[in-house]
């Protein structure tokens, strides 16, 4: 079972960081609601650092996702083929814009994804810092707690947009190449 190094990095970026972040958003929203909005919310003393650590880990995932996407995977996606190249399979952006039926994946999908994804680390960093600084006192600042929840909703929407387009673009024109890594030995060889 083989995988190319570029495909592995795409997996690390999309699933290792992106999908895990997306799943973590629901947990953050439920926890914030339970702590600061639900009237019946109760806090155990051991709950104190949990949300802070949870949001900081989410922030770390978000930064890793955008940095690996922008500086590792995206350069392979937008690589320019040498003049006269006929097989564009190693040049996803050029492959997509070469046909009218696939150009939208780039002109709409990638153009949107590459910028909206950066809203994710900005919003979640704000949420993490505000929750870390205010702690349970956030209950006494209704506008700030609403802002933290709203920011997490925006980060969820932005990461969902980026994740959806990333998955669809990689399906239409996969980022492939680099050296081949054998994940599991092939018995048929």
């Amino acid at each position: 079972m083989d995988i190319t190094s570029r495909a592995l990095w795409t997996l690390i970026h999309g699933i290792g960081f992106g999908v895990v972040y997306l799943m973590a958003c629901s947990g953050a929203m439920v926890e914030l609601y339970r702590r600061f909005i639900a009237r019946s919310g109760s806090l155990a003393s051991s709950d104190g650092p949990f949300l802070k650590v949870y949001l900081i880990v989410m922030g770390l995932l978000a930064w890793l996702a955008v940095l690996s996407g922008t500086y590792v995977v995206y350069p392979w996606y937008r690589a320019t083929p040498p003049t006269g190249t006929v097989d564009l399979s190693g040049f996803p952006q050029r492959l997509l814009i070469s046909q009218s039926t696939t150009i939208g994946w780039h002109s709409m999908g990638m153009e949107w994804k590459e910028h909206v994804a950066w809203i994710v680390p900005i919003t979640i960093s704000m949420a993490a810092v505000v929750v870390a600084r205010y702690g349970t006192d956030l209950r006494n600042h209704p506008r700030l707690k609403s802002a933290v929840l709203t920011a997490i909703l925006f980060s969820f929407a932005s990461s969902a947009i980026a994740g959806f387009w990333g998955a669809m673009i990689d399906k239409a024109a996969p980022v492939e190449g680099g050296h081949t890594i054998t994940v599991m030995g092939d018995a048929t060889r």
Partner: protein, 114 residues
């Protein structure tokens, strides 16, 4: 203004809202700058070339780097100015509006209107 101690079950704030408001407003400014720079880079070839900080990534590298730097500098400056005091509650709302505007401007059909 609201720096009194908080008793158990009290609804009174013990920390001023300045630091939180600074974080929310800076977030909105950072998001709006990101969207604005992306639109400008899309329409101006000179600006697009200026934004190429790292050639393999192209103008995206400059647009995101500058937006992140502006976001962080704004955040630090506002935090230093506001962290020990309460500020107008409307600032939080302004920060969220800027975030929403930036988010909408990043949608390509909207960005292409400019």
């Amino acid at each position: 203004m609201t720096n009194g101690a908080v008793g158990n079950g009290s609804r009174r704030a013990s920390l001023p809202n300045g630091a939180g408001s600074a974080a929310v407003l800076a977030m909105g400014i950072g998001s709006l700058v990101m969207a604005a720079f992306a639109i400008i880079a899309d329409h101006s070839s000179v600006f697009k070339r200026m934004m190429i900080f790292y050639t393999p990534t192209g103008p995206l590298s400059g647009v995101t780097t500058i937006a992140v730097v502006i976001w962080l500098v704004t955040w630090i400056a506002l935090d230093v100015a506001w962290k020990r005091r309460d500020v107008d509650r409307k600032i939080v709302r302004v920060g969220l509006y800027l975030l929403a505007i930036g988010f909408i401007l990043m949608f390509p059909p909207v960005g292409d209107l400019f």
